[in-house]
Amino acid sequence: MNWQGWAEIALTLGLALALGWPLGIFMSRVWNKESTWLDPVLKPVERGFYALAGIDPNKSQGWLGYGASLIAFNLFGFVLLYAMLRLQGILPFNPQGFAGVSPDLAFNTAVSFVTNTNWQSYGGETTMSHFTQMVGLTTQNFVSAATGAAIAAALARAFAGNRESGIGNFWADLVRTTLYVLLPLSIVLAVALIGMGVVQNFAASVSVTTLDGASQTISVAPTASQLAIKQLGINGGGIFNVNSAHPFENPSPLTNLITAIAINTLGWAAFFAFGRSAFARKEIRALATAGILILAAGAGVIYVAEAQPAPALVAAGIENPINMEGKETRFGLASTAAWAAQTTGASNGSVNGMHGSLMPLGGGMSMLLMMLGEILPGGIGSGIAIMVVMAVLSVFVAGLMVGRTPDYLGKKIEAREIQFAMVALLVVPLSTLGFSALTVVWPDGLASLFNPGAHGLSELLYAFTSATANNGSAFGGISANVPWWNTTLGLAMLLGRFIPIVAVLAIAGSMVAKPKLAPSTGTLPTTGALFIGLLVGVIIILGALQYFPALALGPIVEHFQVLEAVSAN
């Protein structure tokens, strides 16, 4: 550890949050259908889109209608992507001549990209054609992110409304977030990244004769275009097997800094957009403060953990035994630690070093950041939505302590909202721990694990945590491309995505119908340090306690084994 490392981590996390502020104001204007400086170019495109698709963007939908539109869109997106994957062999732009994808992998991959998870059971450069990567996967990178943003837009309207019934129009939220926010930012970022060395072309590969006289085949792909939205959309699925550790996806410390900021900034922007659209800027600033505090603590823990002596290097007598296994020379410990926290705190899942080779507490903290509910800042919109659910729960807990009916952002919190909040929060541990337990006892379930001992259990637990949390990162040694894993991980992704979405929309539906109350003397202040402390407590207790027994058998026990192995030398 050194000051440079701490400074780099602080800068990366801080810049992402700071950039989220102006971007959030812009995002809120887009959700609210206010004018933007992009209107002259994009308004005609938007109008044409609505006309072709038969959409009336001004028709405000109730929560059931909004939810039905969302499900219908995602369902058709799934069907289309599944078909594309199965038919890959006969579709164009397939210079490598890859065959169609097997049914279980196609199911897993289609679910994965529609749910904004981007879990990859496959190696990109050895499985997917350029057509699949672009038309199939890149498209879902955009629209799955916009789907998440739509949830936050709807929930913000619900808190802003006073005895209304509509929470906005799903199609308008989807189209406007995609066209005005995600697309322009992605174009600028992608072209800038090409300038910094990211590859972008349609060839299959380049063959060269090396200095040794051997031949080397170098895979190339339209990388920059997918990379930009993979980060900005908080998706995380790489073109190449090793994702953002690949020098073509992340060539330098500069690209690393920029793409690391991109992992978080639109997640934070959705926080600030929610605050502006719900007329609750101060309250949302408190939520963002709680989020960045936990995230910074997580990044710090990972950095400290990675700087501990690595047992294999100690045993070989290396004088400076830091854990460079799975890390790139240009990044080192601090870049990898900051990235690991950001990618798991947001529901991104791209990696710039191999998480399976992290030290036990480094990998364990990455897992815990996902278990906390993907709210630091989580996905675009989906993060702030679940964070608001956490805040509602915190207010409810405080209300129980003092015996008052709680309210949040001027809306009374009653039994129905708490029930849906519990559904949204409990489905995550149920899926994570349930599928993990099932896999442990399933015949051949453990055959896919790569590492022996406690690390093997961590691989398994990490996989179901990542899938349910819609993160998508992995302890990469696991051989997940088998029917059992593809199916169960696919189901975990579906449960972890759509049950919380429906629950949040139900909360929005009941909130929008309530009268907007002015704060009274009995209202718990939800802006100060006291509330931030309460919220952090609720998040950590909910996350940590549910998973502690499982974590104790994985990363925690492995940590003590590492200490023992190091002291034995």
């Binding site: 072709l52 050895t126 080397q216 275009s225 690949h246 294999a312 590492n451």
Partner: protein, 194 residues
């Protein structure tokens, strides 16, 4: 649900055209026009004008007169069509064996000096084009001997191909292996094998 079908189907298809077709096409065209070398993969040529690799992709070099890269877990080593890390956990016995073997390999040519961690670990991508300045320094004497030149000349070329962290604190100092080797070849050509 049926009245949702048209907007769902048509908007998904429109998005596929705009985001899956037009967007990558625009980015590719702009990238190719503004930054053709990078868009093609930052390929580099030797003095004879032959493409010998990419500045960004590591490759195996075994001759004693060349700088050697880190160990690699991509295929048999630096398989640039199948990037991969080792994914070995910190306590995996395979990792202990491999690190010990890699350390012994370094000791075979550099009996003195501390071995830096990157010399005995595989990178995340298996394609790491760079090594630490410490790892490069360990190889200087071997390279100088193979080329029959003073070590200080090798050191100077290594230094010329070393990049410092961005702004002094972002990322790490590192030496590009292929670029250093090309510089060595052009400044101090290897004698043809007898």
């Amino acid at each position: 649900m049926l009245n949702q079908a048209r907007p769902a189907i048509v908007s998904m298809l429109l998005f596929s055209v705009i985001l899956g077709g037009a967007y990558p096409a625009v980015v590719t065209a702009a990238g190719g026009a503004l930054f053709p070398a990078q868009a093609e993969g930052s390929l580099v040529k030797n003095a004879a004008g032959e493409v010998v690799g990419s500045k960004l992709i590591g490759q195996v070099t075994t001759g004693p007169g060349y700088l050697w890269p880190r160990p690699s877990a991509a295929g048999d080593g630096y398989n640039a069509a199948g990037s991969s890390g080792s994914n070995l956990g910190p306590l995996n016995p395979v990792l202990f064996e491999r690190v010990a073997a890699d350390a012994a390999a370094v000791r075979a040519y550099a009996p003195e000096g501390a071995i830096p961690p990157d010399a005995v670990t595989t990178s995340g991508s298996g394609l790491d084009p760079e090594i630490s300045p410490e790892f490069a320094a360990l190889q200087v004497d071997r390279i100088a001997a193979a080329r029959g030149i003073e070590p200080s000349l090798v050191e100077a070329l290594v230094a010329a191909n070393t990049e410092a962290p961005l702004l002094g604190f972002i990322g790490q100092a590192r030496v590009n292996v292929l670029m250093t080797n090309l510089a060595l070849d052009s400044a101090y050509p290897l004698q043809p094998a007898e």
